[in-house]
Symmetry: C2
């Protein structure tokens, strides 16, 4: 192994993101790691009523209803949206506690970088 | 096709997230859709010097150096970190413009939801 340079290999102060927390958060990020799901989330959030009927989402994509439903299921499993069936249709809304948590993680990264830059 | 309920299937005001922008952003989210990469980003941001030697990152994980290097490469390709070789070691730092952009997208989703809730 090559000789270590001065100032190198000092231990990191502490693990800034615990493994369990990282597993939870990464599942949320993974759910948005697809352009269709990202657009679905944005569209659901865009509605002035705070919720969107699934029948309004499908026409925006050249994808089948089952494919859109699958993407919506992944968003729901990640805690990013929730839904309710009313009669014929299913209505979706954003869960801001999840997007807030993800934004807070990213902001903490940006801020720490800004302080030390 | 079943009869549509009243108030349903109104057109969405406009596409809130263009397809091209969604493709770019989703690649960033995908890069953080893994607990190891999320922890790497957090560790890189945690350093008071603003940058971290790769030799400090590897011991935190029960993973080989090539595996860690692969994860770091994906973070770099997504624009989340950048790096420079100095002598024996490679040093990494966070690119806050990328984390800021992701946080802004998430905050806009939370805020629109909060306004309409």
């Amino acid at each position: 192994m090559p000789k270590q340079e001065a100032g190198c290999c000092e231990p990191l102060p502490e693990d800034p993101l615990a493994a369990e927390q990282a597993a939870e958060l990464s599942a949320m990020f993974k759910a948005l790691g697809d352009p269709v799901r990202l657009r679905l989330l944005s569209m659901i959030a865009s509605r002035s009523e705070g919720e969107v009927c699934v029948c309004e989402l499908t026409p925006a994509f050249e994808l089948s209803q089952p494919t859109i439903s699958h993407h919506l299921k992944l968003l729901r499993q990640a805690g990013l949206v929730d839904c309710e069936r009313r009669g014929t249709w299913v209505y979706y809304w954003v869960r801001p506690e999840t997007t807030d948590r993800m934004a807070a993680m990213l902001s903490s990264v940006s801020e720490r970088r800004a302080v030390t830059a």
